[in-house]
Symmetry: C4
Subunit: 197 residues, 4 copies
């Protein structure tokens, strides 16, 4: 079983999740620049969620380039990732105007944590299907960025009870760390023929 | 006629159906954890619908791997399946806060039943196009899971008039049975070259 | 320039147009079977619009199988078709509860007419790019079904001022005529190798 | 790394952005032709936004045909373009009934400007990855249309403070200039084998 259709389906779901978030970017009834004011935090939270989803798409894309085969378990692990990612718009919508309140910040961080764990499960499921010396195994290596992200999200969840804004700053920091494309995998794929992706 | 574009279109529709359901996951105006309380049953029903759609996508994916040709009839049978699946968000939206009420439970089960029947029609339409000893025919076999599901949905529809929650439990049970990837087809595809999917 | 990405984009737009229509299938606040009553005409109109979009997708799919090359003009003609198809949800939403009123019926028929004309322009643009003895030219032939549909939509638009329901019946009749897959093209593609689609 | 999946993801996002704009094309509660009156400016603005998104898709499609390789930077530049394009529905929604008011016109023009700059960055990122005599470098050439568009959007933003309608006219003029497919790239791709796209 090759991964072509799994990738196509994942692309479609992530593209939709990304895009339906803009349905909540509604300007108020006024038509002056001042009317845009309450939209600013919403736009920034949208940008953050867009970035997280873009990171997942990028990493998924890199990951799939070194995958040689998938099975039913991988398909379900991938569905688990898509489920958590699909909760992003609801969490974003709640966080938008409430960045200084504990509950929305914790819920938003919880969706990030769930997505990170689901991605970890997906990577492990794939590893179990590939030999220890496969390009995938080499590419994933120790996955310290993945593990660090999980720790950061848990810390952010605790911090949110004291200073919600600090928890968001921690979430942003994780995004920045991931913005650098996954060089581990890029390194492995460099020597492969271009038709591989 | 190969099935490439039919699969791509099906992927897109299922991805959208899955994802627009989250548009109904709106937290109330409060911003405490307590405000999330009414969202819990909605989230569980969303998870159930997401799982059903994921099962259909998985089974469709497995099915198409052993399909050798399609025709106009197959395209319409597939559209029938997509039509019933597209009713899932509306049924989910109604069931969400009303899991203890007969009508929403019956309507939700009706959408599941319609989808199951449409999938059965799709499989039969494909069978009519393939020889009796084709991988597809071997893979589908007696299709007892498909037939059992239809029976379970009908029973759930009757039970819902007495105990709505029991009907939902029956729907969940069907989902659990299907969560195991379709080994019938997996078995047949195991020996085929990887480029087949 | 091959048509691969044009088809993928068209698939995505039609899939989304089809699916966002269900966002208007909202049950009222009640939770009895009676609460579903006002939903029945909406569901029937949704089924009609779904069928029209499925017909366009099917015909587009068949058409593209005999297309050998496209150019910038074809891409814009295709965008014109997508624009008119994208108006379907708005027209469907208005027609849903107003099937006995002239204006919504005329507007709905106008979207059908615009889509039919845009498809005709797309076919002509493709014809201008292919030799007179190409499979495409043979497949399209005289295109009497396309021309008849345009006439029927115009007649329906006039009839709607007297008896709106009769105009809808005419629209349904056109859909039924198209439900039969386009045998003209199916005939031509029969002898082509399976990897063509 | 080939660009196949990047294109597929871009197609999906643009298709969704295009299509969710129609969710705002809601007829008022009346059901006469007069009830459609307030919809006319909204429909025209939708047509303008649809055209801009179609232009970006067309240009992206032409661009990717001469791209020989991509890297992580290209993927992020592409995400930047998708982010600005995804703001189109919100800007369109605000502009729809307010075409004579400064703020919505400036914001709409700002989204156009952001998209144009993001496309410029994408093109430059691709150029940095290809040799100076590559088909891509030849195809992009001096990119005077891209630079002219940026200047026009900035002028429109200033003009909007005096005469909002004149700013919109300028935006429309840019769209008209782009409606002609990118002959620079079409010229280069003409001699390439058809399987290139």
């Amino acid at each position: 079983m090759s991964s072509g259709r799994l990738e196509a389906f994942t692309d479609a779901v992530i593209a939709i999740v990304m895009t339906i978030m803009v349905l909540d970017l509604r300007p108020p009834t006024g038509h002056t620049f001042g009317a845009l004011h309450p939209l600013v935090p919403k736009l920034l939270v949208y940008l953050l969620s867009f970035t997280f989803l873009a990171i997942y798409w990028n990493n998924h894309h890199h990951l799939m380039q070194v995958v040689e085969r998938i099975d039913g378990r991988v398909m379900w692990a991938n569905m688990g990732l898509l489920f958590f990612l699909s909760l992003t718009p609801a969490a974003t919508d709640w966080l938008g105007p409430n960045t200084d309140t504990t509950a929305p910040v914790v819920v938003y961080g919880g969706v990030l944590l769930g997505s990170a764990l689901a991605y970890f499960v997906l990577a492990q499921t794939l590893l179990a299907l590939h030999p220890a010396d496969s390009p995938l195994a080499q590419a994933l290596g120790k996955d310290w960025k993945g593990k660090l992200s999980v720790v950061a999200y848990v810390v952010a969840g605790v911090v949110a009870f004291a200073v919600p804004e600090a928890a968001i700053a921690l979430d942003v920091a994780v995004a920045v760390v991931w913005l650098v494309p996954d060089r581990r995998i890029a390194r492995v794929t460099l020597d492969r023929p271009p038709e591989d992706s």
